[in-house]
């Protein structure tokens, strides 16, 4: 496991400028700005339908932006194919888990490691010595990843038979096997109980430090977001409405308005003032 700390350029790892995406007449993302420095653990929050997942899909190449610029590690990446972006160092997980359901746990991780396999198709078909050596190395590395996520005893099981929490963990393990610099987690705590969420938060901190990662996560559970993220960007109707540390975000009237409506925001403001007096 080599940590990816060497960056080709100093400055932000990911920079999103003026990013917009239209679906027909619907503007899902509008003039979005986002900046991540190496080592950041940032959150992206917003009410349902704010366009968070669309931003993820734009960063990872699933959608092509209508306008705007995404720069990763000094290179412009908008319009590149998803697999190229992944190979450049952005890995992701999905809101609704997308494992390879009929493959074993170990194979799931091995697939993410494919672009680093190090042998050609001819080597594989003819079972050359290079294949034997590299394949052994690949399997061992995949097992290392499983071990970090305490899934080593599950390696032979079919992925879809795993319990929910383990599927989530496996998806993160698989994303990490691609050796990314930036990890995008789309609602990693969805469907988890409070205890599992706490364990997940510890896990996110741990992998950030262990692999020197930069992490961007979408999350609805405020407990997780506020507990784990150092910087938070808030979106509403496809636009960035706030950015700052968790404490600032919690008291930002625009954020309260976006989540709870205008009346609630005014009420909160009144309450704060009366408290201050």
């Amino acid at each position: 496991m080599t940590a990816n700390t060497q960056l080709s350029v100093s400055g932000p790892l990911l920079k999103v400028e003026g990013l917009s995406k239209n679906f027909g007449g619907l503007r899902a993302v509008n003039n979005m700005e986002l900046e991540l420095n190496p080592g950041d653990l940032a959150g992206l929050i917003g009410p349902n339908g704010a366009g968070k997942t669309t931003v993820f899909n734009l960063i990872t190449g699933v959608y092509v932006p209508t306008s705007g610029k995404i720069t990763f590690n000094g290179q412009e990446i908008n319009g590149l194919a998803p697999h190229v972006i992944n190979q450049m160092g952005i890995a992701r997980t999905f809101q609704n888990i997308r494992l390879f359901p009929n493959l074993t746990v170990l194979e799931n991780v091995c697939i993410a490691y494919h672009s680093h396999a190090g042998y050609s198709m001819q080597d594989a078909i003819l079972r050359s010595r290079k294949f034997e050596a590299k394949e052994k190395e690949l399997l061992e590395k995949a097992q290392d990843f499983l071990s970090i996520f305490r899934l080593e005893d599950r390696q032979g099981e079919i992925a879809r038979n795993l319990p929910y929490g383990e599927q989530r963990r496996l998806e993160i393990a698989r994303a990490l096997a691609a050796n990314p610099k930036l990890l995008c987690l789309d609602e990693p705590a969805a469907g988890m109980n409070p205890a599992e969420s706490v364990a997940l938060m510890d896990l996110i901190h741990f992998i950030r430090d262990r692999f020197s990662l930069t992490i961007l996560l979408i999350e609805h559970q405020m407990r997780v977001v506020m507990g784990v993220c150092e910087k938070i960007t808030v979106m509403d109707f496809g636009e960035k409405i706030a950015y700052g540390e968790p404490r600032e975000i919690q008291s930002n009237p625009r954020v309260v308005e976006a989540y709870l409506g205008r009346g609630a925001a005014e009420l909160a403001e009144k309450f704060r003032r009366s408290k201050a007096q």
Partner: protein, 421 residues
């Protein structure tokens, strides 16, 4: 390498050779008559086609009905080459097929490596480039081939006739398979980006086109010896039990080597979840075309072998209705199971042509096409995932290494270190 062969490998190789030897002895001594001999050979040929289709549909998840078209291309191309050698006493077919497939194959590979790097090139433009280059190289191959033919013919005539025929046969079969693979590449490039159902219909269209062209092969294509809808006769019957077993073995081993590697897992990941595969760095378009071309190569190979079993080819054999046969075989044997495919291929040949023909009373042979679908229906109801499901014999399985616990070991090592300062 030989010393490292694992137990499953030895079992597989040993039992395959044993089966071959027993069958060969039975056939040579006349205990199995030529009727059963032919059925076994057709079963093996079907196994090769179906393994190819399993690669495309069972492992890569692309519903293709084009397999039969590539089978037809392989059959007619190989048959034409050996026909020209035995009847016309000329190696022109051999030389031109060899040169054309080799040159255009090399140009496709060369272009593929360059074009893949170009950002945002659309499939149709790429297709045009490939097609132009293929046509240009084939024209050159034709011209060079015509000039080189007398020399090659003379060279082959210096060898004993039987050996020369075997050489022509093997080269014809292999390069017909490459021809089928190249056509599948050109055909697959623009249509593989279609969704699965549309892809199925497009490939069905391909099979229909091939059949129509073969119906008019003497007029439209200008191959007089193929005799169009009357059927091609006079092909040497040289596909022996040895050759079909040899090719089937090689195919099984190589396909297994591919599938049980990182490339095989990449191919399978496309079937499992395209979006997730892309997000994990798998070039989905690339692996779709890889699986499609390899599958079509196997179809072409099987076609070449089939053409030399009966010595007779008819366009009706390559009717699109028949294109469902390999599809039935792989679904029946188990999608994504090579073991099941091999078993089902032989079962298909033995039951449909052999057992049913014998057990049904005189005059009721045609009823086998009623009994056979009923049999399929019952088996699919009893075992909806196919006879073998996703079972594989140990030789064909993915070998999982022993579980390792590096993290646990590390923690234990730390504990020990703490205890003993």
């Amino acid at each position: 390498m030989m010393s490292k062969l694992s137990k499953p490998t030895l079992w597989f190789l040993g039992s395959s050779v044993a089966i071959y030897v027993v069958l060969q002895i039975l056939v040579s001594t006349g205990l199995l008559n030529s009727f059963w001999d032919t059925i076994i050979r057709i079963g093996a040929v079907m196994a090769i086609v179906s393994i190819g289709l399993n690669l495309i549909y069972g492992f890569n998840g692309q519903f293709s009905l084009g397999q039969w078209g590539f089978y037809a291309i392989g059959a007619y191309a190989a048959a034409d080459v050996t026909y020209r050698w035995t009847v016309n006493k000329s190696a022109d077919g051999l030389v031109i097929l060899f040169l054309a497939t080799a040159l255009s194959g090399a140009s496709i590979l060369w272009l593929h490596q360059r074009i893949a790097k170009v950002r945002g090139i659309d499939p149709l433009s790429a297709f045009t480039i490939y097609l132009t280059s293929t046509i240009a190289w084939s024209a050159l191959a034709f011209w060079v081939g015509i000039t080189a033919t007398p020399a090659v013919t003379a060279l082959l005539n210096m060898l004993p006739a039987a050996i020369a025929l075997q050489i022509v046969f093997i080269v014809a079969v292999l390069f017909s398979a490459i021809l089928a693979a190249e056509i599948s590449y050109l055909f697959g490039l623009p249509i593989l980006s279609l969704g699965s159902d549309y892809f199925g219909i497009a490939t069905l269209g391909f099979t229909v086109i091939v059949k129509i062209l073969l119906d008019n092969s003497d007029t439209l294509l200008g191959f007089v010896e193929m005799k169009g809808a009357r059927g091609m006769i006079g092909i040497p019957k040289i596909t022996t039990l040895f050759w079909v077993f040899f090719f089937l073995m090689v195919v099984i081993v190589l396909v297994r080597n591919l599938l049980r590697s990182s490339y095989g897992r990449a191919i399978i990941s496309v079937r499992e979840d395209e979006i997730a595969a892309k997000a994990m760095g798998i070039d989905v378009a690339e692996y779709k075309i890889v699986a499609f071309v390899l599958g079509s190569f196997l179809a072409g190979l099987a076609g070449g072998l089939y053409a030399h079993i009966n010595g007779f080819l008819h366009p009706n054999t390559f009717n699109f209705i028949k294109s469902f046969d390999p599809m039935i075989i792989i679904v029946f044997g188990g999608l994504g199971s090579i073991t099941g495919t091999i078993f089902a291929s032989f079962a298909w040949a033995l039951v449909l042509e052999g057992i049913l023909r014998i057990f049904l009373p005189q005059g009721f042979e045609t009823w086998r096409f009623v009994v056979y679908p009923l049999l399929l229906l019952v088996i699919m109801l009893l075992r909806p995932k196919g006879i073998f499901g996703d079972y594989e014999i140990p030789f064909l399985r993915q070998v999982l290494p022993k579980p390792r616990h590096p993290e646990k070991e590390k923690i234990e090592a730390e504990k020990i270190a703490e205890v003993q300062p």
